[in-house]
């Protein structure tokens, strides 16, 4: 066995339930244990698993059971309150993909900006620029301000940039729900290509067909804990049994 590329051990994270919960300046200065914790709940707790390089993992669970939070933890955009998340390689997070895009700048500037923020050098972007534009299929709009694109085009260009990141780990969080059918199919093919190229995939979706298409292993989350970690078919079977329509 190789060293795991993602090692999640005993992770817990909690959130506040109500926005108006009282937080005082006192909280800032008192020790972690003594701080007042008004109305908090654990979104995830006691979660442990390892991921080997090249695995494709689908995360299953109902809404609000911590799937997206888990993805964000792996992406490193939120930090756990307990335990550790070790990620040995770079991550291409297909989460909030349009986040780095600025309305007032042109598509070209935005591509350079977003790819740069995710760690690409200028020459790397130069090399891939045509590919990125081709994939998104918006050649006529390179010098249009981003805000004038249709919402479908926005997602297309964003996906195109992030999926070109060439990072060994890809996280996908239901971003593909938008976009027309043709583009979605194109995205799936891209993901399959990446998988054959040896990438590690972490996938959150409610679409069973997609799950079976990409993933070999499944994680079933319920009420913030890991119920089952096994082959994707077993995981989906259990999920369907628990929540039969």
């Amino acid at each position: 066995m190789n060293a795991p590329v993602i090692a999640v051990s005993d992770v817990g994270i909690r959130f506040r339930r109500n926005r108006g919960g009282r937080r005082t300046f006192k909280d800032l200065f008192s020790s972690r244990a003594r701080r007042s914790r008004p109305n908090e709940f654990w979104a995830l707790r006691n979660l442990s698993f390892d991921v080997q390089p090249g695995e494709a993992i689908g995360v299953v669970g109902r809404n609000g059971q911590g799937k997206s939070t888990l993805l964000k933890l792996v992406a490193g955009v939120v930090l756990p309150d307990e335990g550790t998340v070790g990620v040995a390689e770079g991550v291409a997070p297909l989460i909030e993909i349009t986040g780095g895009f600025v309305d007032d700048l042109t598509v070209r500037d935005n591509v350079y900006l977003t790819a740069g923020l995710h760690g690409m050098t200028r020459s790397q972007i130069d090399e891939r620029f045509d590919d990125i534009i081709d994939f998104a299929d918006i050649g006529d709009f390179i010098d249009t301000p981003y805000k004038h694109l249709s919402s479908g085009m926005k997602v297309r260009i964003a996906f195109s940039v992030i999926s070109r990141l060439e990072e060994p780990i890809i996280l996908v969080d239901e971003v593909l729900a938008v976009g027309d059918r043709g583009f979605r199919e194109k995205c799936y093919r891209r993901i399959e290509e990446l998988l054959t190229g040896g990438r590690t995939l972490f996938f959150v979706s409610h679409n069973e067909k997609e799950m079976r298409r990409f993933c070999t292993r499944g994680l079933y989350l319920d009420k913030g804990t890991l119920v089952l970690d096994g082959p994707i078919d077993e995981v989906l079977a259990l999920y369907n049994k628990d929540y039969a329509v």
């Binding site: 800032l28 955009v77 740069g116």
Partner: protein
């Protein structure tokens, strides 16, 4: 396949963490400036126009209406030498109140160390500050103010001010996420600080400071000879780090403004604020990421 290369050959991980941070900082700063300049007709002119109008107002009020008893001559140079850095500080801190809220989407999708959201504001405002220096040069030339060797302290002043702005930004930015009121409180405090700092007047005009006519090197002696040094305005003003910073900037044209007591207290205060800033930031980071 074919079109997709294996990750080993091309992955962007070749950059060290520090290089990546620096690169991102630069990208974000460039983006800020580009957005600002590409969406407005006057572009760069705004960096100049703002201090120009402000100083025109103060110049008019203090030299044409009131008989001025503070500051140095030429007053416009004296004023701008502190007003321009003030605008840097003011801009950076008031923008820091929205550092996380404005970029929430981007912060939720990247893993760059989070201090970058404050540092980039300080940097882009700092570049605007440098870009506005020609205004000062212009007025120095037409009013015949003489530049002296103390101008070499300029980088030191910039350094202390950067530490100060980053420190304050790191304290303000995460706290505003939890306490929205703080945004307005900070704005109010900045307005107060404008008059509490020696911008339209000199630190030497403060009661307890050494009066005009006393040479800089005798200043310490003069101040020490006064009976209640410890309880004078001058003494307490030193704890406003801006006092020392402005004294350093002004020394370029007015050597008598240089007061090492003020500068050293200001340097110590700035470093302290920076440390507190890092501490508060590290403490809040986790919660901020959940909240935005």
């Amino acid at each position: 396949m074919g079109a997709v290369s294996t990750f080993a050959e091309v992955r962007p991980g070749q950059r060290t963490r520090f290089a990546r941070y620096r690169h991102s900082l630069w990208l974000l700063t460039k983006r800020d400036l580009r957005v600002r300049y590409s969406t407005s007709v006057l572009g760069y002119m705004w960096s100049i126009l703002d201090p120009l109008v402000m100083s025109a107002i103060y110049w008019f009020v203090f030299t044409q209406i009131f008989k001025r008893s503070v500051g140095e001559d030429p007053y416009i140079v004296f004023l701008l030498a502190a007003l321009l850095p003030w605008m840097w500080f003011n801009g950076a801190v008031s923008d820091a109140t929205r550092a996380f809220l404005r970029e929430a989407k981007l912060i939720r999708s990247t893993t760059i160390p989070r201090t970058i959201w404050v540092n980039r504001l300080v940097l882009s405002k700092g570049i605007e500050f440098l870009a506005s220096l020609p205004v000062l040069a212009f007025f120095a030339i037409i009013s015949g103010a003489r530049l002296n060797w103390d101008a070499l302290y300029f980088p030191l002043a910039v350094l202390i001010q950067t530490a100060l702005a980053v420190g304050v930004g790191l304290i303000v930015a995460p706290l505003v996420v939890f306490f929205r009121d703080l945004e307005r409180a900070v704005k109010l405090f900045l307005r107060f600080l404008f008059y509490a700092s020696p911008i339209i007047y000199s630190a030497r005009d403060l009661p307890g400071g050494c009066q005009a006519g006393v040479a800089a090197r005798h200043c310490a002696t003069t101040v020490a000879a006064q009976s209640d040094t410890l309880f004078s305005w001058h003494f307490w003003a030193a704890f406003n780090p801006l006092t020392g910073i402005f004294s350093l900037y002004r020394a370029a044209f007015f050597p008598q403004e240089l007061d090492w007591f003020l500068v050293s207290v200001s340097a110590v205060m700035s470093v302290l604020l920076l440390l507190v800033g890092f501490w508060v930031f590290a403490r809040c980071e986790r919660a901020v990421l959940k909240e935005i």
